[in-house]
């Protein structure tokens, strides 16, 4: 049986936040084997804000290129198509977090920090594993709790109930969600990701970041985000919505093949990079 509320959100699916049209155009271009760097550059330069953001981000410490990149074409050549798409997705997601009303300001900021922390964490863990799609795993971290934003926007009453339950019982948000809604932000996020036609890898990571073994062939990616989520909660980068540590999925941990002694340097890098990119993203995008 589909829980009532989830059906309710699906009913409102047309009101769900959408991605900018430019993003969709770019996704199309990236997915088509025929398109060239020039085609992509043309679409991006049509949008001044996008162009400015792209050049800022390319020149930020996140990428650490030794020389200044001053043209969109140069950025595309340096980063590649996929990276550009993910980068644009990042800026769109940030807009989504910013577009909430004033009442949601604190919530948004903390969830944004948690998401950004998790993105940075996923990037660092990905680096340890020599994972080759770093931008993609970064975006996955950024999006993993997007279902919480949807709940805030579309189920405000239930969200308040969830909050009250967390306060009263000091439990995990997923536990409170299960008892109030009968499902969690992971399922809501999956729905949004599907609506946005995000790549199936991203859909799976979002849907299974609390249970990576269900992510099928994307178990490694889901496990990376799962661990990143736990690590940012541990050192209080933002807030995932509760004050409890979720347990680490054993299968996920084994999939990653990390050593226990890797935790400390990973957390160290995460904190340093979060300070770096946090300053940049929060003030410039």
């Amino acid at each position: 049986m589909k829980p009532n509320n989830l059906t309710r959100i699906i009913g409102k699916v047309d009101d769900l936040p959408t991605l900018p049209r430019t993003f969709l155009k770019i996704t199309e271009l990236v997915n088509s084997p025929k398109s060239s760097a020039q085609d992509l550059a043309r679409v991006i330069t049509d949008d001044q804000i996008l162009t400015a953001r792209l050049l800022k981000l390319v020149n930020s410490s996140f990428y650490g290129f030794p020389r200044r990149v001053s043209t969109v074409r140069g950025a595309i050549v340096l980063l590649g198509f996929d990276a550009i798409r993910n980068l644009l997705l990042t800026t769109s997601i940030f807009d989504l977090f910013s577009n909430m009303n004033r009442k949601g300001k604190f919530q948004r900021e903390q969830l944004w920090d948690h998401s950004l922390g998790c993105a940075v964490g996923a990037k660092v863990i990905g680096g340890y594993l020599k994972y080759d799609k770093i931008e993609e795993i970064f975006v996955a971290g950024l999006l993993h709790d997007i279902g919480k934003i949807v709940e805030m926007l579309f189920l405000p009453k239930e969200f308040q109930k969830i909050a009250a339950l967390i306060e009263a019982k000091d439990i995990l948000m997923v536990t409170a969600e299960e008892s109030v809604l009968g499902y969690t932000h992971a399922e809501v996020g999956k729905m949004l990701a599907e609506r946005w036609n995000l790549p199936s890898k991203l859909v799976h990571i979002i849907a299974h970041h609390h249970g990576p073994p269900h992510a099928g062939k994307f178990i490694q990616e889901a496990a990376i985000v799962h661990l990143a989520d736990i690590l940012c909660r541990a050192v209080d980068i933002g807030s995932g919505g509760d004050r409890k540590m979720p347990s680490l999925c054993q299968t996920a941990w084994e999939t990653l093949q990390l050593k226990v002694s890797d935790i400390e340097p990973i957390v160290g890098e995460m904190e340093a990079e979060f300070e770096d990119i946090g300053l940049f993203v929060n003030h410039s995008l």
């Binding site: 604190f106 919530q107 409890k244 540590m245 226990v260």
Partner: protein, 121 residues
């Protein structure tokens, strides 16, 4: 009114605006005088910025209310308490025991680091 990073907040500062958590639940009312305990509570909710009473920029505010020498010790104690509650359900896993140890170290390290920064400003 000063927009201040929570990590630079000092006991005795007065909140110029109420602070709410992720769910919009009120954590501290406007006019509340900060204590070590409630600063730690704000941190545990991941709050990064607050508004406090006063004029001037963030650094001056920090200087005016420079904390006592034993503040660091007390803060550490509070951290441990919060940390143990947070990890209470997951410590049967050796990896999580390590995560908690690392988290505790990072929390401890943030204090002396901040002191160093204050002095160079």
């Amino acid at each position: 009114m000063i927009h201040l990073a929570v990590r630079n907040a000092k006991p005795g500062m007065v909140l110029a605006e109420a602070v709410c958590n992720l769910h919009g639940t009120l954590l501290l009312k406007q006019g509340v005088e900060l204590t070590l305990r409630n600063v730690m509570m704000l941190k545990s909710w991941g709050i990064r910025k607050i508004f406090v009473e006063g004029e001037g920029d963030e650094d001056e505010a920090g200087d005016k209310k420079r904390s006592d020498s034993d503040v660091a010790e007390t803060m550490r104690g509070t951290d441990y308490e919060g940390l143990e509650g947070k990890f209470s359900d997951v410590l049967d896993d050796e990896v999580m025991v390590e995560v908690m140890r690392v988290a505790r170290n990072r929390l401890q390290r943030r204090l002396p680091e901040r002191k160093g920064n204050d002095e160079t400003q």
